[in-house]
Symmetry: none
Subunit: 231 residues, 2 copies
DNA sequence: AATCGACATAAAGATTTTATTAAGATTCAT
DNA sequence: ATGAATCTTAATAAAATCTTTATGTCGATT
């Protein structure tokens, strides 16, 4: 069983410490940020399984940060807040938060709500192994095979491939991919993405001049898809 | 847009009435049960999109009913309860509830939490599709099909098609289209638009000399519409 | 039938976007 | 600290798309 990683974004040291201890003693890995900027960076770099986000941060308004995260982050976000006014709660939930807890919160309830949020997710991502023709991806082992031979991928290449594969059949825009893999500050580095796509194709495609898996949508982005043989 | 159906299971008449009115006035369909047995039956027969379940029912304990429902019901269940003790909350969430609200609850918050729960569900289904005869547009995947074959459209062609489709049956003037797709500085390039319309027709129409989807409104603009076969 | 205006279409050239390579910078493990 | 792996940047060739131009069609009007 792989431990879920939870990103804590909260500026109060005491609370952050409390959260880290409670979560770690319940089998989660944690990573913490004490302001919004750092939170965004860590979310992009660590790809946490859930984010605990305090609404009252010093640098970025919590609702704004929530929206920024939701531009690409699809896993659960649980809000924490000293404010219990309905307007804030409703706004946060409508901005894409999965849950909203008012401080002071009870640890047991928080943990239960985290379990609930993660459960909903894992039900859907249930797939541990993905197979397309000669390509096989074992998500739990983090391994990729081509014709039963292990393909050696760097961590970035692997993230990119799984992002594409998890959205099979869907066009992902350059922006979306860059946000999801490299974080918001890379949103305009399209050329950069191309280099990695070329790299990936060289490793997983039979003929990288006629890609069968990773298709280009010119001017828009890329799409992972199985092409019928007839072409 | 299809209305979501919400099943309310609560024994207090006043609360049930309140819920029905709030939900209906917010565009949901509702069906109500005043005890656990009836709730189970209605859940099975109506397949609601979400269940609001009061924990204090006369015939069956709420936690037990929750577990019984979760044996087969996979959509969101939101618990309502007068009890705010942590043990009850934790137990309900661990038994598969998606959320837990303590009475008296604020209507706005309840509605926001319902929206949040339903959104999580539909995120996974990710399906926004439009279909006209042999033409199918999957907006979330950004793909267009003609007789189940993917039609390769450039980014501009796709924007143009979706603009027309989203205004199905309505005449869009040249100016309006040029402004919407290419921006104000192209407002007079009518000829330009014709080139793209021709291109689109070639790709999506069966016989581009007798367009069935994209109709010309001479001197005015274009209109997307299904024409009957008889012509 | 000839003329006109609005529209359709094809094709050539211009521009943008993409693929690919390679070299330098950085990171990582030992 | 060192070498290997990986990331990042830059340059260039190839491909796709856009834009313009030219020409042809259709229907209404004279």
């Amino acid at each position: 069983m792989i431990k879920d990683l939870i990103l804590i974004i909260d500026d109060e040291n005491a609370i952050r410490r409390l959260l880290e201890i409670s979560l770690q003693s319940n089998g989660y890995k944690t990573v913490s940020a004490c302001n919004g900027k750092e939170g965004l960076l860590l979310a992009a770099s660590h790809q946490p399984d859930l984010i605990l986000l305090d609404i009252g941060l010093p640098d970025i308004n919590g609702q704004v940060l929530l929206k920024r995260l939701r531009e690409w982050y699809v896993k659960p976000i649980v809000m924490l807040s000293a404010q219990s006014d309905e307007e804030n709660i409703v706004q946060a939930l409508d901005n894409g938060a999965n849950d909203y807890l008012c401080k002071p919160f009870r640890t047991g309830e928080l943990l239960a709500r985290i379990r609930s949020s993660l459960r909903n997710l894992s039900d859907n991502n249930h797939q541990q192994k993905i197979e397309f023709d000669s390509l096989r991806i074992d998500l739990s082992a983090r391994l990729v095979y081509k014709h039963n031979n292990i393909v050696k991928l760097t961590s970035t290449e692997y993230s990119l491939l799984t992002l594409l594969v998890k959205n099979e059949g869907r066009v992902l825009t350059h922006q979306y991919i860059l946000n999801a893999i490299w974080g918001p500050s890379y949103a305009l580095q399209t050329q950069y993405l191309r280099v990695f796509i070329a790299q990936l194709r060289k490793k997983i495609e039979k003929d990288s001049n006629h890609p069968k898996f990773i298709l280009t949508e010119s001017g828009v982005g890329y799409r992972f898809m199985i092409q019928s043989e007839s072409l």
